[in-house]
């Protein structure tokens, strides 16, 4: 079980895992490297293979390797320079941040009710959250536009977008958190109630910390829903300085000609905050329940 054999056994196992993970990381990263190639090439061409006549193995290998012919930061400089790209990213951050807060908050309370209370309409309610995702949104642009702009008067504002995005993100968040709440033993709460704690205190001081992984996942998900959305943002916003990042990014493609270098560079710039967010949220992806936390 332990000792030299065990440790070597574990290292062999870990070696296997490392091979697997490295292989998959390469698969995950390869197309992204092509995006980098286009972005750092300083040009606007999408990447295609170039071969000499009668190519051999090495020629093909060189063609398949994602490395730009010339290295240049021109695309990045132009993207940041010639349009208010950073401002657009800030707008996206505001919208996505508010969406995360609103979405997670609304989801938490609903999930808590679904998890802890038995009430008529509980199952129907949960199904309805699920069902709301099922209607294809292709035709719903006009009614949503009417509701947000005319009924609520929130056209050309971030709040309107935040509302729509949160509502889109809620169903998954509710289900995820409810499932997580279900795994938290009820005894913890009951003992806290007997100790005289109010429901608010229980929720914020006990339940939420234990559900950190679920909160982290739903926060990331809500953020991503809002961060990458294009068509609603493009339709609602009517000032250039209010555009969000995906809208600004789309300026580079579409119509007759496309500037792939700028688009690739912009895509990379847009992805950076997401990666940082993920890094930040990683530390919450740890177990909240330690062994022996419940007993005694």
């Amino acid at each position: 079980m332990s000792g030299q054999g065990g440790r070597r056994g574990r290292r062999m196992q870990h070696l296997g895992l490392h091979v697997f993970l490295v292989a998959f990381s390469l698969i995950a990263v390869y197309p992204v490297l092509w995006v980098f190639t286009v972005a750092f090439s300083g040009q606007q061409n999408l990447a295609f293979v170039e071969l000499p006549p009668d190519p051999g193995f090495l020629d093909r290998l060189r063609a398949v390797a994602p490395w730009p012919a010339q290295f240049s930061l021109r695309n990045f400089v132009d993207v940041l320079d010639q349009q208010p790209f950073l401002r657009w990213m800030l707008n996206s951050a505001i919208v996505a941040g508010l969406t995360t807060v609103l979405g997670v908050f609304l989801a938490c309370t609903a999930a808590y009710a679904f998890s802890r209370f038995q009430f008529p309409g509980r199952r129907a309610g949960m199904m309805s959250f699920l069902v709301s995702q099922m209607f294809p949104g292709t035709l719903l642009l006009v009614p949503i536009y009417i509701i947000i702009t005319q009924w609520l008067g929130l056209g050309n504002s971030f709040i309107g977008l935040v509302l729509v995005y949160s509502v889109t993100a809620i169903p998954f968040c509710v289900w995820m958190m409810k499932g997580y709440f279900d795994t938290i033993p009820i005894e913890i709460e009951e003992s806290a109630i007997m100790d005289g704690a109010s429901r608010q205190v229980i929720f914020f001081k006990i339940i939420l910390p234990l559900a950190k992984p679920a909160v982290a996942v739903t926060a990331l998900f809500s953020f991503m829903t809002a961060w990458n959305e294009f068509i609603l943002a493009a339709t609602f916003l009517e000032e250039e300085l209010k555009y969000t990042a995906p809208v600004g990014l789309r300026f580079f493609v579409g119509g007759f000609s496309s500037e792939w270098g700028y688009f690739a560079a912009g895509s990379i710039i847009i992805s950076i905050p997401v990666v940082f967010l993920f890094l930040y949220l990683q530390k919450y992806l740890v177990s909240g329940l330690t062994a022996g936390g419940v007993k005694g």
């Binding site: 995006v35 209370f117 009430f119 199904m127 279900d182 992806l285």
Partner: protein
């Protein structure tokens, strides 16, 4: 698990029942239900009937003005035919005489933008007709152009699609009606009337409706009293079928009686209006003949009455050229409208019965108690539900309504109620059984067929979710290993497919699959294989989408499962290891069941998203070859935005929704069943 909420208010059901039974008979839920149900049914019926009466009066008035305008149009055409575009003076006098101070009339000719004649008070002295239209009379010109274009559209497409008579409400009972006049078969201009619409007041009797409601209430209340006298005290929270049945009969009888009464009144009203119209027509004909004679032109409606037309300038045929009513046509028209109203009244009865049932079958009482008992829970759920209601379910309801119409971009201006086609959209979608087409090469699969597309969509969804879940699970398990180095680095790299906007990565993948210049074929050739024409074959094109979407979707699954893994406490694994269970057994017995509450929602959501994954199919394979790889959502998109058929696309979307809902319900039932057996 549940925590008892609001327990202070829970009382013994028997106590509650006894308390309820002591209330007087006419305040019992059944009676209240009858009252409200009858109120709903009769109020709605009353409202529909009053709408109908107003509408018919409006229609009749409009028709009167249209007849007048058609006469003027004939006059204008006759004058122009006789005198060419020269003598316009004659028309002014004719117009004034014919319309006789009935409002403001104008005749506008398109060529030269000329106002030929006008009885509007503003058009006098310097601004007297005939003259060129002034700058702020652009609307007149645009109106004329619009009607001309409508006539041209109808003629060239051989349909009656665009209205050739324009009826506009200007507010405060002012109406503006205009229609084109023809010279030598071409639209030469329009005639326009602005008049105040004064209608005879006509409302259905409110007394009858109120009496009906009162009667219903008394009847059911009486029944409750009777049952009490017999010693039976119905529990308001129980389902009292006998009482309900009796109540249904009462309500049906009352609604039907009221309906028949009103329909009879409506018919009499319509005949009255038509008689009035016929009188008006005769006056008009006489006047026109007289004026025409004095000018030497013939202004005559003809034997079949060319002046009484509908909004497409088609003869209605109810009032003959001699002013006599064609009874058969009138009867048919009345019957047609009555049929619609009868359906509406039946619908109202249905709604009223539903409301009655809600009370009589105890649901109202039960709901009230449930709300009271569980108000904490409902309060928690309310914010999220409210947001969903406004931003999800309203648009959804709009989509469903749209699916029962044939709205297209070409008739989007018309009110939706006129475009109802019932279930025909659905029948066309689901009834499309032509899966095979016979061509010169034999039977070939028809890729435009709904069922083929459904098949591909299901294959697409199943394979993608399987790939995503499998690899997500493997990666999450691998990353969760204790003591593994570099996990942070791996995690960051593995999340990149999700982080980078999928528009460009999908296009990069598309480029990678290019037959000659794509890296994948290069890699294949590197190892001695033959390049694959990815987008030429159905299966290979399917693989391009699968590979791309698999790549895009595994990070999400990985993160979700990673989160779920954190909820499993390590003691269970330690205990199992001590008991001698192998890693494999531990996985199946501990990990998988504990992950269920996390995975199941993720799988369901993933199925729903993949089913509706538009981007990848659109950008990578584009549905190639020949639309074989299209999925339902790309079809719906094409129908809406390329074929401009919004109603049909909505029906398509509802079909997609229903398929997914059936899946969702089955899936949750299945997992609940397994949960019950394993826990």
């Amino acid at each position: 698990m549940s925590l008892v909420a609001g327990s202070a208010y829970l009382e013994d059901p028997a106590v509650l029942a006894a308390r309820a039974a002591r209330r007087p008979a006419w305040l019992q839920p059944a009676a209240i239900g009858a009252l409200l149900g009858a109120l709903l049914a009769l109020a709605l019926s009353w409202w529909f009937v009053s709408q109908q009466r107003a509408e018919r009066a409006e229609d009749a008035w409009n028709r009167g003005v249209i007849m007048q305008l058609m006469a003027v149009a004939d006059a204008a055409a006759a004058v122009e035919r006789r005198d060419g575009t020269g003598a316009e003076q004659a028309l002014q006098g004719l117009l004034a005489e014919l319309t006789d101070g009935d409002g403001h009339f104008r005749v506008v000719r398109l060529s030269g933008s000329r106002l030929l004649a006008s009885t509007a008070p503003a058009d006098r002295d310097e601004a007297a007709a005939p003259r060129r239209l002034s700058r702020d009379e652009k609307w007149l010109f645009d109106l004329a152009q619009g009607l001309r274009a409508a006539v041209e559209t109808n003629v060239s497409e051989s349909v009656f699609r665009r209205r050739q008579v324009n009826v506009e409400a200007l507010g405060q009972d002012q109406m503006r009606i205009s229609l084109p006049y023809f010279v030598d078969g071409q639209v030469a201009g329009i005639v326009l009337a602005e008049r105040e619409r004064v209608l005879q007041p006509s409302r259905p009797s409110a007394v009858a409706a109120t009496a009906g409601v009162g009667l219903a209430w008394l009847a059911v209340g009486g029944l409750v009293l009777l049952r009490r006298r017999q010693g039976v005290s119905p529990d308001p929270a129980a389902r009292n079928w006998g009482l309900f049945g009796a109540g249904v009969l009462v309500l049906a009888a009352i609604t039907a009686g009221h309906g028949l009464l009103e329909l009879g009144g409506l018919e009499r009203w319509q005949r009255e209006l038509t008689d009035g119209l016929s009188d008006r027509f005769l006056e008009l004909r006489e006047e026109a003949a007289y004026l025409g004679g004095s000018l030497g032109v013939a202004i005559d409606p003809g034997r079949d009455n060319r002046w009484d037309v509908d909004l497409f300038q088609r003869e209605l045929g109810v009032i003959g050229g001699d002013g006599r009513l064609r009874e058969a046509v009138l009867d048919a028209d009345i019957d047609a409208r009555a049929a619609g109203l009868r359906k509406a009244i039946t619908g109202n009865l249905g709604l009223g019965l539903l409301l009655f049932a809600f009370f009589a079958l105890g649901a109202a009482t039960r709901t009230g108690r449930a709300l009271r008992d569980n108000r904490h829970a409902y309060m928690y759920v309310l914010p999220a539900m409210f947001g969903m209601l406004i931003l999800v379910f309203f648009p959804f309801a709009y989509g469903i309504t749209l699916s029962f119409t044939e709205q297209t971009a070409l008739n989007v201006g018309e009110p939706i109620t006129e475009l109802f086609v019932g279930f025909s959209n659905y029948l066309r979608i689901l009834g499309d059984f032509q899966v095979f087409r016979s061509t010169a090469e034999g039977a070939v699969i028809n890729y435009q067929n709904f069922y083929w597309t459904l098949f591909i969509t299901i294959c697409w969804t199943v394979t993608n979710v399987t790939v995503g879940v499998t690899f997500g699970m493997l990666l999450a398990l691998a990353l969760n290993t204790r003591g593994l180095r570099f996990t942070n680095l791996y995690r960051v790299l593995l999340i990149l497919p999700w982080a980078i906007p999928n528009y460009i990565t999908a296009l990069i993948w598309r480029g990678m699959f290019h037959q000659q210049f794509g890296v994948i074929n290069q890699a294949i050739q590197m190892f001695g294989g033959e390049p694959v024409a990815w987008f030429d074959g159905v299966f290979s094109a399917f693989m391009t989408g699968l590979i791309t979407n698999g790549w895009l979707s595994f990070p999400f699954m990985m993160v979700v499962i990673l989160g779920g893994l954190q909820s499993i406490s390590q003691d269970m694994y330690e205990a199992a290891t001590i008991d001698g269970a192998s890693k494999w057994q531990q996985f199946w017995q501990i990990t998988l069941p504990s992950l269920k509450p996390t995975i199941i929602p993720a799988v369901i959501i993933s199925v729903v998203w993949t089913f509706n994954m538009f981007n990848v199919i659109y950008l990578v394979s584009g549905g190639e070859p020949a639309g074989a790889n299209e999925i339902l959502i790309t079809k719906a998109y094409k129908i809406a935005f390329e074929e401009y058929r919004y109603g049909y696309a909505a029906a398509y979307s509802v079909v997609i929704f229903l398929i997914l809902m059936v899946y969702g319900v089955l899936q949750t039932r299945l997992t609940r069943a397994t949960e019950a057996t394993t826990s």
